[in-house]
Symmetry: C2
DNA sequence: AGTTCATCGAACCGATCGGTACGATCTATG
DNA sequence: CATAGATCGTACCGATCGGTTCGATGAACT
């Protein structure tokens, strides 16, 4: 909760608290599924405060999405980094991290992709694009360290597995989706590293 | 357009025309992005007619999604069937068909997944689940004909590629996404068929 | 002590939402 | 020619939407 009444010690703290508290609600119910009034009520914040900080509901949404993208990127990058030096282990760790995420009861798919599916033209799509870019950077690094011939290409194929696993986990509800995706990812990595492909 | 004024020769024709015309509009702008009033105006249909046929906006949405799922399934199954007897060719044909879809200017991702991303608890999610089931059936058949040890498992990995490619094509906008997915799918099929995996 | 300013709470705005009701219109049927 | 029924167009409903405004409150700075 963002303080009580009078002047907060730090307005930036209020802003951060709003972003943090609004995130889960918007994620769970969808952007169009929560009105500003209810949002403020749940956050314990007045509309005036919200609009002074973000100007617009979309402004808040963008801030929330940016924060979430940052956090997801932190998770996956940390998981990969903690997996040691073997690129295959790093790749496996990324999918294991995704698997933990899928198992959370609040899991509802990728927030950025969900948002882009309902806000079409908007800057929301730009945030989603940057989110995928960051995934791609992580995967490209792993692919490059694995010494494959075409790291960018492999990374793009792995990105499809990441997002595809997220979609399937969210909408098809089978338990070991992440494990299946991990298998597939390792197969792709191994095949490309050993030059097994070229059909 | 559903006829002119008085009693139509066939009310079922009117219903079908509404479903067909509403589909693209809801797909392009999103379910919450088009009001019933505008929807009726574009369709050349009165609200009373729409509500008599579908009862609810959600009723129309469900009918539209069912129809689209049917059509997508028809496309991909036909593409696979037209590719001959080789399961690898059939798999490649599925991704080629997806590639043609991605290239359409109206392409906005998987309508069922998009809808499920904004309508949470609803029967919409059931339609989406059935849609993924049908994809899975198609892919399982191909995997089984390829003689792999675990057709269901491979099919689930391929399903992630299908949905992942669709998400990436919709939100990352790189040209040859479907071709990349096709490469990955064939790699998975080949690896599993030749028993190259087992890490 | 007094000024400043972030905040609250609630009233308020016009617009739009999904959904209903009704009288008029037209076609098909008998 | 009369009846039945599908349709149109429009007006209307209450609810909710995103957003604005304002007076009161209270902490921080001078």
């Amino acid at each position: 909760m963002p303080v009580a009444k009078g002047a907060t010690i730090d307005p930036a703290r209020t802003r951060a608290a709003i972003v943090e508290a609004a995130g889960p609600l918007l994620y769970e119910r969808g952007i169009d599924g929560v009105g500003v009034a209810e949002l403020c009520a749940r956050l314990g914040v007045s509309k005036e405060t919200l609009y002074r900080h973000f100007g617009t509901k979309d402004g808040l949404v963008l801030a929330v999405l940016e924060a979430r993208s940052e956090r997801v990127h932190g998770w996956t990058a940390a998981a990969a980094a903690a997996a040691g030096d073997d690129p295959a282990d790093q790749l496996a760790a990324v999918f294991d991290a995704l698997g933990e995420w899928y198992r959370e009861p609040e899991f509802r798919g990728c927030a950025m992709v969900n948002a882009a599916a309902q806000h079409h033209d908007d800057p929301v799509r730009a945030v989603t694009g940057r989110h995928l870019d960051r995934y791609l950077d992580l995967l490209t690094g792993i692919a490059a360290r694995a010494g494959v011939a075409d790291p960018e290409g492999l990374a793009r194929r792995l990105l499809m597995l990441v997002e595809g696993a997220t979609v399937v986990a969210a909408h098809h509800g089978v338990a070991d989706t992440a494990a299946q995706a991990r298998e597939a990812a390792l197969t792709l990595l191994t095949a490309e590293r050993d030059g097994l492909l070229e059909a």
